[in-house]
């Protein structure tokens, strides 16, 4: 891998006025960017700022409408991902494209442009994974691997192509803090070899920690270029959203006595071969507090959410209680009538229907709880579209949802704005119990701050708020107490004042397996 031929200060890759238009809309508008060998270059921006479009043009997935891409100073046309790889650009995608039934080596073989014997790939992959500290068994089946290990496959598969520029799209969003630390070591090693890394992330702390330079995009234009190590998280976020982000007011919550939502020794077998079974989950959220559940994706969070919301019913009605009533056998509508509100992780096709208008998405979760306001005509149950629209307008105003048109399709909103709408839809009912899964997943900094603030306000007004999140910064910002979910088991909740990141990391490694957890913590 000594093929690094960095040319010092000269840019490895640069773009001049790179533009991509979709109809009249310019997703990228005259972007100038230059990346040198031996640097980790951050690409920052809100959702919809044009990051993905830019990267897709660099990787040959989209054709630029105007502008030029230069590789070592010479103009190049990158017509396909294969052409990008030949040029020397590799990419690790946020969503993996792996076949679960195949082995690591077979998956790598599939992505290569030329036919290479599997044994040679296995040997090469094993060598690379050793060299870069990415432990990986080439003969393991992907189905048996953790998310972190799957990401290593993607990285090794990219490294096999000997790229000089590696693009990483949100690489740490699925990793534990320890796994992320290990990834950073690998990235620093690659930088030491003179390779360039384009690093896309929402996590500003990370960017400050490992990146040498940052380019900030907003509305398809470059709005800032800086050395992130000289900036604060606040100033970086400010460049992303334009103007300083409003800091969260100190939560200062004082929990009441009444337990509004709880589970008692809740055990639910896995519903599908791909889901996690919940084992002996006991939790209680009191009025006026926010209980946060930390954990790496795929450890039972969505299963727990489904059981709390009533999308999965449990055999023992008393295992789930809402506002003092046994709710395990109640439908989601009945739970809403008890005063509960739910915000699922997935926006499209779960929390909202993209092809329906915003006002119709209000009906989605509120047709039962607000039937008196929204339905008329007795058994005919006619929709009162006027009052539904009125609610939609109120939510849009309360949560500062940016949209085009009076009542647009939900799919036309950016991720952050749709999330604000979905959270606002539940808050507008003033629920006594609010269960939220990944409240700010893939949401820009401004919207995330708005949503967190709203959750705290709801708790202050006496609601019990349960937040399931992977984002530790978010958890420490809002939670009164913190529990960790791992392998379908939930740790005992501890006050956030006494909880530490290290302890959460250990608990993420396994609730019972404390030995394993300590080892991980030592390694980092």
């Amino acid at each position: 891998m000594a093929s690094s031929s960095s040319t010092g200060d000269a840019a490895l890759l640069s773009t001049e006025g790179l533009t991509k238009s979709f109809g009249s809309f310019k997703a990228c508008d005259g972007i100038d960017l230059s990346i040198a060998g031996g640097e980790i270059h951050a690409l920052l921006g809100e959702n919809g700022a044009g990051k993905s479009t830019l990267v897709k043009m660099l990787f040959g997935v989209l054709e630029p409408s105007a502008g030029a891409i230069r590789w070592r100073g010479d103009p190049v046309a990158i017509r396909s991902p294969a052409a990008a790889r030949r040029t020397g650009i590799g990419m690790v995608f946020q969503h993996f494209s792996l076949f679960e039934a195949l082995t690591v080596a077979e998956n790598i073989a599939l992505s290569l442009d030329d036919a290479v014997p599997i044994e040679r790939i296995a040997k090469e992959a094993a060598r690379l994974s050793r060299e870069y500290g990415l432990p990986l068994d080439p003969n393991a089946h992907v189905a048996d691997l953790s998310v972190g290990e799957r990401q290593r496959i993607e990285i090794v598969r990219t490294l096999l192509q000997k790229p000089e520029l590696i693009i990483l799209d949100e690489p740490t969003s699925v990793l534990t803090p320890q796994e992320a630390d290990r990834l950073f070591e690998t990235l620093e090693q690659l930088r030491g070899e003179g390779r360039a890394i384009l690093y896309i992330s929402h996590r500003l702390e990370e960017v400050r920690r490992i990146c040498d330079r940052a380019t900030v995009l907003r509305h398809g234009k470059v709005t800032g270029a800086c050395d992130p190590r000289r900036e604060t998280v606040g100033s970086l976020a400010g460049m992303m959203v334009g103007g300083e982000v409003e800091g969260i007011a100190d939560s200062g919550l004082s929990p009441g006595e009444a337990v509004l939502v709880e589970t008692r020794a809740l055990s639910v077998p896995a519903q599908t071969p791909f889901s996690i079974s919940l084992e002996d989950v006991t939790l209680a959220v009191r009025s006026g507090e926010i209980l946060a559940i930390a954990g790496v994706a795929g450890n039972g969070q969505s299963e727990l959410f489904d059981v709390l919301s009533g999308e999965t019913l449990v055999a023992d009605a008393a295992a789930v209680r809402i506002d003092g009533r046994d709710a395990g056998r109640l439908s989601i509508s009945a739970r809403r009538l008890l005063g509960a509100g739910f915000v699922p992780e997935e926006r499209n096709g779960h929390g909202a229907v993209g092809s329906l208008a915003l006002s119709q998405n209000v009906m989605l979760s509120r047709h039962a709880s607000d039937s008196r306001a929204y339905l008329a005509g007795g058994p005919v149950r006619m929709l009162k579209e006027g009052s539904v629209r009125e609610t939609a307008r109120r939510i849009v105003a309360a949560m500062d949802v940016r949209k085009s048109g009076e009542d647009p399709q939900a799919s036309s909103l950016s991720g952050g704005n749709l999330q604000k709408f979905i959270v606002g839809r539940e808050l507008d009912r003033k629920p006594r119990v609010l269960v939220v899964n990944q409240p700010t997943w893939g949401v820009d900094a401004g919207a995330a701050a708005r949503i967190r603030q709203a959750l705290i306000e709801r708790a202050r007004e006496g609601a019990a708020v349960l937040v399931i999140s992977q984002d530790l910064d978010e958890i420490f910002e809002i939670a009164t107490r913190i529990a960790v979910i791992s392998g379908g088991r939930l740790s005992k909740a501890e006050p956030s004042a006494t909880m530490t990141r290290e302890r959460i990391g250990r608990l993420m490694g396994g609730i019972q397996g404390v030995d394993e957890g300590t080892e991980l913590a030592d390694a980092s």
């Binding site: 979709f22 109809g23 809309f25 054709e63 030029a68 103009p75 046309a77 919301s309 999308e311 439908s331 989601i332 509508s333 809403r336 739910f342 699922p344 997935e346 096709g349 779960h350 929390g351 909202a352 229907v353 993209g354 092809s355 329906l356 119709q360 009906m363 989605l364 979760s365 047709h367 039962a368 339905l375 005509g377 005919v380 149950r381 006619m382 929709l383 399709q409 036309s412």
Partner: protein, 363 residues
């Protein structure tokens, strides 16, 4: 030089409105080419196929008779398809309704009462709904693919009808022809106006279309249908049950197909025969999609497809072509409708590669 299909930012309402007409125009052009290939003058053939049937009161009555079952069935299917339940077996439910509705007129021919006709019609709906319940149960309880089960049940119904009219229900005075006795007057669905041929089935079709349109657009039930059709996960989040929707949509469309079946038998044929439908249940699938699952547009689409049946008969009589020509036209129409609908969500661009490389050279 290449063609590129590019997703539009928002769906184009212009093409949503235009697409059926473009499809119709393309169908006419393709049909003209087909007639020319068969050695007929395309213009006069198209005239006798599409225009001539609209020029007399008799044939307009025939048009109402042919389109009534198409509209009734397609309106039911619009509920199924909107909720992503693929009922392909309306032809079987049509026959089941006709059989169940014929029980009284065939087995108790002497009973007359003003209640007889309503009872017959209700029995027809019940027959269609019960027959549609089979694939619904198989899907909801055993997760069996409803496309296969509902389609296969069509052949079961067709053969059962064939056996019934050759066996137990054969008319003893019918010279051994495979048919039942004629329905009595009080079991016959009367014409809409005295002296006309078109029976009340056409009126039922219009009423069903308006009522279903109202349900789909203005009530919570319609909202539930749309949400479940878009995403069953979102439906579950809303507290709607996809399992119950399987039953609702199949029973609803089965009942309308059954009503179409008994109207056809009681109003037009007046007895059961081995074959009572020229494929209404299948053609109605085209009608439903041509009308973009909107019950009001389905009325128009039903009239257009009804016209192809009449045109097929005319083609047989006046230009000496097989009535199968009608099927070919229906195939053209469905093909072009689905093709043109692409334009609603996508735009087609001609990209000149020469120009693109020219730009690169300039840089």
């Amino acid at each position: 030089m290449r063609l590129e299909i590019e997703r539009r930012a928002t769906r184009s309402s212009l093409y949503a409105a235009l697409s059926p007409f473009i499809a119709l125009a393309l169908t006419v052009v393709a049909g003209g080419i087909m007639f020319a290939a068969l050695g007929k003058d395309p213009f006069s053939a198209l005239y006798s196929f599409f225009i001539a049937p609209l020029t007399s009161a008799w044939s307009l009555n025939q048009l109402a008779i042919k389109s009534a079952p198409l509209i009734l069935i397609a309106v039911g299917l619009s509920v199924c398809f909107s909720s992503r339940n693929w009922n392909i077996g309306a032809e079987g439910q049509f026959i089941a309704g006709a059989l169940m509705g014929s029980i009284l007129p065939v087995m108790a021919p002497d009973w007359t009462s003003p209640l007889l006709l309503p009872i017959i019609l209700v029995l027809g709906m019940v027959g269609g709904a019960l027959y549609a319940a089979i694939p619904a149960i198989l899907k909801a309880e055993f997760n069996a693919n409803e496309i296969l089960s509902s389609l296969m049940l069509v052949y079961v119904a067709q053969l059962f009808l064939d056996w019934t009219v050759r066996g137990p229900w054969r008319d003893p005075q019918g010279f051994n022809f495979p048919q039942t006795i004629q329905f009595s007057d009080s079991a016959t669905l009367p014409p809409i106006y005295a002296g006309g041929a078109a029976h009340w089935g056409f009126v039922f079709a219009l009423v069903a279309a308006v009522v279903t349109w109202f349900m789909l657009r203005r009530t919570l039930k319609g909202f539930e249908i749309r949400v479940l059709g878009e995403s069953s996960r979102a439906g579950r989040f809303a507290g709607f049950s996809s399992r119950r929707m399987v039953y609702f949509s199949f029973l609803f469309s089965g009942a309308l197909a059954g009503l179409a079946g008994i109207c056809e038998v009681s109003g037009a044929i007046n007895q059961l025969q081995p074959v009572i439908s020229p494929g209404y249940g299948f053609t109605a699938i085209i009608v439903a999609f041509l009308g973009r699952l909107n019950p009001l547009s389905i009325v128009v689409a039903g009239l257009v497809l009804g016209l192809t049946y009449l045109g097929g008969e005319a083609a047989q009589i006046t230009i000496g072509l097989s009535e199968k020509v009608a099927r070919v036209f229906q195939g053209f129409l469905l093909f072009f409708v689905l093709g043109c609908d692409t334009l609603i969500l996508y735009r087609i661009r001609l990209v000149s590669s020469r120009r693109a490389s020219g730009e690169e050279a300039a840089q």
